[in-house]
Every structure is written in structure tokens, then in C-alpha cells.
């Protein structure tokens, strides 16, 4: 019984801790929007539609289904031919030098804007774990 109570409290404590350390989605979306405007909107445009054949769309984009690849292309850059929503693109996106937290924010914003939605919350730790 004593063991159980201790365990129970540790469990509750951990939940509290994770609630406090994890950045809530709402805050992440706001920060992500700012990053998006500064670093992404210039090419992908504020409405996320991009420019056909030159800058691939992010709004309702099938490329985003692979979240790891999405994070990786923002973290390390992306180069070479890709197909997005049936359209071919062959260009370079260089790494923008964002830190892991900023990347998690902007990915959350992209995955939850312009008709995109996801249940997964991207955290700094997830971004940190993505390798080239």
C-alpha cells in the first residue's frame, strides 16, 4: 500500500511537471506564426499557398504527411526534385538557422493553419531527435 501511494504521488508529480515544462499548443502557435512571417512567408506566402512550380504549397500539402521529413527539411534544408500535390518542384530551401524550439513552433503553426490540422504536438525534444 505504502509503495502504491508513493508511486501514485510520483506519477501525479510527473504529470504536473510535464504540464509545466511542455509549451502549450496555443503559445506555440502564436510564436510559430511570428517565425512563419519572418522566415517562410516570403516564398511560401502568408496564406501558405506558395507559387506553383517555384515554391511548393504548405496549405493542404501532401508533403506534410511525413512530419519527420517536414521537420528535417526545415532543420537541415532541402534540395532537389520533390512532388507536392502532384506538381514537380526542383529547387533549394536552405536552413534558416532556427533553433529547435523555433522549429517546433513553426511546424505546429504550419500543421494547424490554412485547413491543415493534426493531433500531434511537435515539441522541442522531437525536433532535437530528428537527424539529417
Amino acid at each position: 500500500m505504502k509503495f502504491f501511494v508513493t508511486f501514485y504521488f510520483i506519477f501525479i508529480f510527473n504529470i504536473c511537471l510535464s504540464l509545466f515544462t511542455k509549451k502549450p499548443l496555443q503559445e506555440s502557435l502564436l510564436d510559430g506564426q511570428e517565425i512563419y512571417k519572418d522566415f517562410c512567408a516570403q516564398c511560401h506566402l502568408e496564406d501558405g499557398k506558395g507559387v506553383k512550380g517555384i515554391y511548393p504549397p504548405l496549405a493542404k500539402s501532401d508533403f506534410l504527411k511525413d512530419i519527420n521529413r517536414t521537420i528535417s527539411s526545415i532543420k537541415y534544408g532541402l534540395k532537389g526534385p520533390i512532388i507536392v500535390n502532384g506538381e514537380k518542384y526542383n529547387s533549394i530551401m536552405v536552413s534558416q538557422g532556427l533553433d529547435d524550439e523555433e522549429i517546433s513552433d513553426v511546424v505546429n503553426y504550419i500543421l494547424n493553419s490554412w485547413g491543415n490540422s493534426t493531433k500531434q504536438l511537435i515539441t522541442e525534444e522531437i525536433v532535437n531527435s530528428i537527424e539529417k
Binding site: D38, F39, Q42, E46, K79, S91, I92, V94, S95, Q96, G97, L98, D99
Partner: protein
């Protein structure tokens, strides 16, 4: 009612037609091309700057932070660059071989840097040479240790530190710990809350007292206090956090170095923009020299248009002028004018990414990224205000209005503005006889439309615009080589040489 409707309709139509209209002269595509091109350097992503040492010896910067030296077509990496802060539009930017290169082997380059000169945190590559500094071996050793731990420390900071802690250092205290304490107390740029500042100084004082008392019984308490101090430090400070520095943003810096084969030596930062910001936009930058060996370079508005470009006490949105040794010429327009950046030559710029010295008129010309419909060519005159963002021909890319003023007393007009915006990159004049029909034409790269534009200019008016090298990719830079040929840097491609047939 009908009238109102008509008025609105006409107004809308006229606004729409205005915004869609191309600013004259319209850009032409020549039917006959009597030139071709050859790729002389390949495999480059974003070749921002290039500078010729001679016809067969070329320096090229890659925005991601790589410097190449290409000798007789052989591309090799040059080592010894300071840490480049690659963020947004920033990175390793322009490069320029000194007019005295033959004697001095000096080169200049601009890049984005997170070194914080305002808070006196900087990279030290040259050692502290002041003799009085090293009046003891212990201090000397201590400084070496600090340098290892904190490569981003400014000489001035070290001097202050030694002044404050010389007794402790001479008594054999751990220099790193003392240095941390020194930074804790002295440098908290972001903390506005007086309570937090008081807390820091109280903690620091208590730690210092315990250390001086050397009482073993207080050891645990000292540890506790230190960890408390670290946790505040972690929240606010720029210091290494678990070995990783968390950037506080950056600004454009100008460096000078000597080039020895494939290595940069005697690295010296000769100018650094303040105040660092995490914004990704508008770092500039180009470097050119005039006939009198003054150096000019540009910094963009750093994404803070409402504050930087019109304020000459701040950096950003400016063209600067320096002597080759990094000192400020005493005939600079704002020299000795009090609270100003004396290196400023002109202000009110948005983001000049093209600059050239016009050998005929002896003036500096720039090309600048404006807002939508507001890209400009400017002739730079000392002390003048080029108006951004008070006047502009452009509107925000989102479609909203910045200002409805396109001119104002005391502000300069551009020589030309592009509608639609071409996103102008580097610029060059053709002064040689290699392309007889192009002599004295101005060439500007278009990032957006992926062509090289040739402009004929008569009496400071653009009379003809023409596309040269169409659909080749985003044109990042153009230069006239020492052999008189034009060299064009294209993103995702390399350096192209234009060859007349």
C-alpha cells in the same frame, strides 16, 4: 447611389491598373543574342559575394558560411572564418579584396554575427597584447583558461574583469569561476526587473563572502546559492547553457583579414552593427571601394523598419564609410556630431544588396530591395536620407499601404524604381571594350525573375531595360572582372562568364 458605385468602380479599376502597370521603360527581350556564357565555377548554392585577386584567382562566399578560393578553375575551401550566424537572409555575405592587396594581402568581408559588441561579448582572435595586463603569471594563465572556456569575450570585458578581480587571481582563485561571477553581476542586458537584478547581486555578494571566509561548513550553502544563481542566469543570460549557446540574435559585421594561401590570418572585426536581433531579414550587404580608398558597406534595416533606418544613433538601413584600417574618416557627414554612428554615410535605406562605384561619376550606386513595387536604384550622397519608410513607391507584400508619400523635402528620390519588383541583387557597370554595345551599361541581377538586367542610363535616367541571360536561376551577383568580362553568380548553379560571339 449609382454615382457612388461608379466612382468606386473607377477608383478600384484605376488602382488595380496602376499596381499592375510596369514602370517605364518596359523590360525588353532582345530577338538576337550575340553572346553566350560559360560556367567557370560550378556547384554553388548561394554564391553571395565574389572578388577577383586577378583574372585567374577568385574569392567566392557561400551564404551558408563557406569561403572558396578558385585558382585557374580549381575550387578550394579557405579556412579561418569566424563563426557565421546563419539565420534567415543572413550568413556569410560579401567579400572584397583590398585595393592594396598586392602589398598587404588583406581582404574584407561582411557576415551575420551574433557577437554582441553592445554588451561587450565578442570573439577575440588576437591576443591581449597590453604589457601591463600580464603583470603576473597567474593572471596570464587565468586569461588563457577563460579564453578556452569563453571564446566570445571582448578584450574590454577582460580588462574590466582583471581590474576587478586582480587580487583574487593573484591569490590563486579559480579564474573561470570568478569570471562567471563577474559576468553574472555585470552583464544582464535583458533583465528589466529591478527585483531580479537585486536578487542577482545579493546572491553574488553572499557567494563572494562565503568564498572569502573559506569556511568548510558553509560549503553546502555556497553550492546551493550558486545553483540558484545559475538558474537565474540560465533564464536570462547569453552564457553557455549545458555547453550550448543560445543565440540572442545577430547583426551584420565587417571583418578584415590577411589571406595566406588557403587560410585567413589576423582576423579583425572592424565594424559590427548594434543591436542584435533574432529577426531574419535585411542584413545587406555589399562592400566597395572608391578611388580614394575609402571602404563603403551596407546593412539593411534588420526587419525593424520603424526604428532603424531613420535613426542615425542606431545601425541598420545605412550605407557606411570607413578607412581601410577600420577607423572613421573625419570628413564623414556625421563625424563628431554627438550621439550618432559616425561611420554612417547615408541612411533611410531598406535593404541594399547591390552596390558599385561608378568610376565615371565617382559616386557610389546601390540597388535596394524595397517593398512590393519599391525596389530602387540610388546614387549615394554623403549625409543624405533615402526616405525609408517615410517615403516609398512600394506597398507591403500583403497588400497594405506603408505610406502614401513618394517624396518629401530633405529626402532623396531614387534614380529608378522597379514595378514590378525584380528583387535586385548585385550590380556592376560594364566599363571595358569586351562588349562594345554594352559599354557603360548598368547590370543588375534579378533574384525573382531569374535573369540579368541591363539598363542603359543617360543623364541619370533609365532609357532602356533589357533581359540578358533569361531563366538561368536566381541571379545573386554580377561583377566586372579584371579582364573586362562580366561574371554572374547564379544560385544552385555557379559563376557564369558572359562571352560575346
Amino acid at each position: 447611389m449609382k454615382n457612388t458605385f461608379l466612382t468606386i468602380a473607377t477608383l478600384t479599376a484605376s488602382i488595380l491598373s496602376c499596381s499592375a502597370q510596369e514602370n517605364l521603360p518596359k523590360v525588353q527581350t532582345p530577338d538576337k543574342k550575340n553572346y553566350s556564357y560559360k560556367i567557370i565555377v560550378d556547384s554553388l548554392d548561394i554564391p553571395w559575394g565574389m572578388s577577383f585577386i586577378n583574372e585567374n584567382d577568385l574569392l567566392v562566399t557561400e551564404k551558408s558560411g563557406i569561403l572558396y578560393r578558385i585558382r585557374n578553375g580549381n575550387k578550394k575551401r579557405v579556412k579561418g572564418l569566424p563563426p557565421v550566424y546563419v539565420r534567415g537572409q543572413g550568413g556569410l555575405l560579401d567579400i572584397a579584396v583590398s585595393p592594396h592587396y598586392e602589398e598587404t594581402k588583406e581582404i574584407f568581408f561582411t557576415m551575420s554575427s551574433e557577437i554582441d559588441t553592445f554588451n561587450k561579448i565578442s570573439l577575440v582572435s588576437d591576443s591581449v597584447s597590453d604589457e601591463n595586463f600580464f603583470n603576473s603569471e597567474l593572471i596570464k594563465k587565468g586569461i588563457e583558461l577563460i579564453r578556452e572556456e569563453y571564446p566570445f569575450v571582448f578584450n574590454e570585458t577582460l580588462k574590466d574583469f582583471i581590474e576587478t578581480f586582480k587580487d583574487e587571481l593573484n591569490n590563486g582563485f579559480d579564474p573561470i569561476e570568478k569570471f562567471q561571477l563577474f559576468l553574472d553581476v555585470n552583464y544582464y542586458p535583458d533583465i528589466k526587473d529591478q527585483n531580479v537584478l537585486n536578487q542577482i547581486s545579493e546572491l553574488s555578494n553572499r557567494i563572494k563572502k562565503i568564498e572569502i571566509s573559506n569556511d568548510i561548513n558553509l560549503y553546502e550553502e555556497e553550492k546551493k546559492l550558486k545553483s540558484k544563481l545559475r538558474s537565474i542566469q540560465k533564464k536570462y543570460s547569453f552564457l553557455p547553457q549545458n555547453g550550448k549557446r543560445k543565440a540572442k540574435g545577430g547583426h551584420t559585421a565587417l571583418y578584415r583579414a590577411t589571406l595566406v594561401d588557403l587560410e585567413l590570418k589576423d582576423l579583425k572585426m572592424i565594424y559590427k552593427g548594434d543591436f542584435n536581433t533574432k529577426k531574419g531579414q535585411h542584413w545587406g550587404s555589399r562592400i566597395v571601394f572608391d578611388d580614394d580608398n575609402y571602404l563603403y558597406f551596407t546593412i539593411g534595416d534588420r526587419g525593424n523598419r520603424d526604428v532603424n533606418p531613420q535613426d542615425i544613433s542606431r545601425d541598420g538601413g545605412k550605407v557606411y564609410r570607413l578607412n581601410l584600417d577600420g577607423s572613421i574618416p573625419n570628413d564623414n557627414p556625421f563625424f563628431g556630431k554627438g550621439n550618432v554612428r559616425e561611420a554612417i554615410y547615408s541612411y533611410g535605406h531598406r535593404n541594399p544588396q547591390g552596390m558599385v562605384f561608378n568610376k565615371k561619376t565617382k559616386r557610389i550606386w546601390t540597388s535596394e530591395h524595397g517593398p512590393k513595387g519599391g525596389d530602387e536604384i540610388n546614387i549615394i550622397k554623403p549625409g543624405k536620407n533615402y526616405g525609408w519608410p517615410i517615403i516609398t513607391y512600394g506597398i507591403n507584400y500583403s497588400g497594405t499601404i506603408i505610406t502614401n508619400k513618394t517624396s518629401m523635402n530633405g529626402m532623396e528620390q531614387p534614380l529608378y524604381y522597379w514595378v514590378p519588383s525584380i528583387a535586385p541583387s548585385g550590380m556592376a557597370f560594364s566599363t571595358s571594350n569586351v562588349y562594345p554595345k554594352w559599354k557603360n551599361s548598368l547590370f543588375v541581377g534579378s533574384l525573382k525573375f531569374e535573369y540579368l538586367e541591363r539598363l542603359e542610363i543617360k543623364k541619370e535616367k533609365v532609357i532602356k531595360r533589357e533581359k540578358v541571360l533569361e531563366s538561368i536561376g536566381r541571379v545573386r551577383n554580377v561583377k566586372e572582372g579584371p579582364d573586362g568580362y562580366l561574371y554572374v553568380a547564379v544560385e544552385g548553379n555557379g559563376i557564369l562568364k558572359i562571352i560575346p560571339n
